[in-house]
């Protein structure tokens, strides 16, 4: 699946896996450098990844096509392999108790099937402007609970870096709402020009990302007033990132983002001054792409 996704992205699987490993290592080092609670956070992250493999529909399918023993072996292998990079990194950082706990918990999770009643929809504050935030929030509500929980811990233990990490987490999750192009029908149906459509999407993204980041931002501003400028800076960065990702999505629409666009996006997010050139480029490309559907 990963190989296919990388190929769709226009990248050779070997190179893609190399880049993913490099990104994973960079993220891990940064996390452990900045946060004292990094090992526990790291374990939570690994388990949340593993839990996605326990989804009922997926497991029902596997059970239908494989014998019971093969199914158990496959699920154990899946969960085990998923946490290997995390366990290795935890060992490298000499956090052995957490590494062992993760190595035990991950296979055990393969015996659990997460059965969230698919038809039950919980309300969201985003009903007025469907669809990205409604769908995204429902799909990743757990991550927002984690982010707000970390904010509370940051306030209790006066750890500003952890608070900033929560803010980054909120925006990163919001960015992920825009990683898949929607069916063309959902663009075609708008009685808007390409410019109008993009502004509508941008306004929605800004408003709703504001609602989701508000609890974290307020907590940081109230409890860490000395770092007000840094908080404001990260908020601004989050908004700019959101704007860029949204435009990047429509700059290749209805196709998925390709490699050159992905590189440009990554460059812009890592070195924000480049965004001054990248954002207008994505905007122009988006208008061009949307013209075919919106006229």
């Amino acid at each position: 699946m990963l190989k296919r996704q990388l190929s769709d992205f226009g990248i050779r699987p070997a190179l893609g896996i190399g880049l993913l490993l490099a990104g994973f290592s960079g993220f891990s080092f940064y996390l452990f450098l900045k946060l004292t609670v990094a090992p526990w956070l790291y374990m939570l992250l690994a388990l949340s990844l593993v839990s996605r493999l326990s989804e009922t529909g997926r497991n029902t399918f596997l059970r239908l096509i494989f014998k019971r023993a093969d199914y158990v072996r496959i699920r154990l292998a899946e969960n085990g392999l998923t946490v290997v990079p995390f366990v290795v990194f935890l060992c490298c950082k000499s956090v052995l108790p957490v590494a062992v706990l993760l190595a035990v918990l991950a296979p055990l999770l393969s015996l659990v099937r997460i059965n969230i009643p698919a038809a039950v929809a919980f309300p969201t504050p985003f009903y007025k402007r469907p669809f990205e935030f409604i769908v995204g929030f429902r799909a990743r509500a757990g991550l927002f609970v984690v982010a707000y929980g970390l904010t509370a811990i940051a306030v209790i233990y006066q750890n500003f870096n952890l608070g900033i990490f929560s803010l980054i987490l909120v925006f990163t999750v919001c960015l992920s709402f825009y990683n898949q192009p929607e069916d063309v029908f959902y663009v075609w149906m708008y009685r808007l020009t390409p410019n109008g459509f993009l502004w509508h999407k941008l306004k929605t993204a800004m408003l709703y990302a504001g609602i989701l980041s508000l609890p974290v931002a307020l907590a940081l501003l109230v409890y860490f007033p000395a770092h007000m400028l840094i908080t404001a800076g990260f908020l601004l960065l989050g908004y700019v990132g959101l704007l860029t990702v949204l435009l990047a999505k429509y700059s290749s629409y209805p196709q998925q983002m390709n490699l050159p666009q992905g590189i440009l996006l990554a460059l812009g997010l890592m070195m924000p001054p480049f965004l001054l050139a990248i954002v207008p480029f994505f905007y122009t490309q988006s208008v061009k792409r949307l013209k075919a559907l919106l006229g």
Binding site: A119, Y127, P130, V135, V184, F185, M189
Partner: protein
Amino acid sequence: MIIIEQLSKAYGFRQVLSDIDVRFEPGRVYGIVGENGSGKTTLFKCMTGIEQYTGTITAGLSPLKDHTGYLQTEPAYFSKITGREYIRLLCQARGKDPGDIDGKNIFDLPLGRYAATYSTGMKKKLALMAILLQENQYFILDEPFNGVDIQSNIIITAIIRQLKQLGKTLIISSHIFSTLSDICDEIHLLQGGQFIKRVYEDGFDELEQEMKALFIGNRIAALELK
């Protein structure tokens, strides 16, 4: 009114539609029939502007897409959006207030549930309800009766008649000939990417017999059923 002139569409070397000329008047219901792959859905996609094409399409209300309710053969739904939210999304896209959505729920759909979990027929009814609340002038309904229960079938037929009374233009495709012969003013037979026949109400029976002869022929005999 919608006027289509010299409309052609090809995917690479494969010609799907060739020189389509047709006119759709207000207050009339048009049926499009043809085998699978004859180009019905492609024609609809060209009319809506979802697919690029050569030729011209002109309409009384322009741009056509902003006044068209398009019911797809298989409406695509997001995984975690409820029926009510779906209707709001489609109405919002056209700048319309859906009003009391629950009060207008004539199909008794479970609007609080995720639309993606609906049955085929329920998905169709939800999509139809949404485009009706958009208050369109033109309706392109690709297989509106597919998978729909008999009660809803009757309701959809009544809705189509009501829309006709209101002076709307309706273009409908269906694989069930009787549903079209009940509601259409004209039926166009699409074959090999071209309209090969246009029939008015008084010729529907004859068309049905011709289609049976054309599509069945001696194919059943070839099965050598025992």
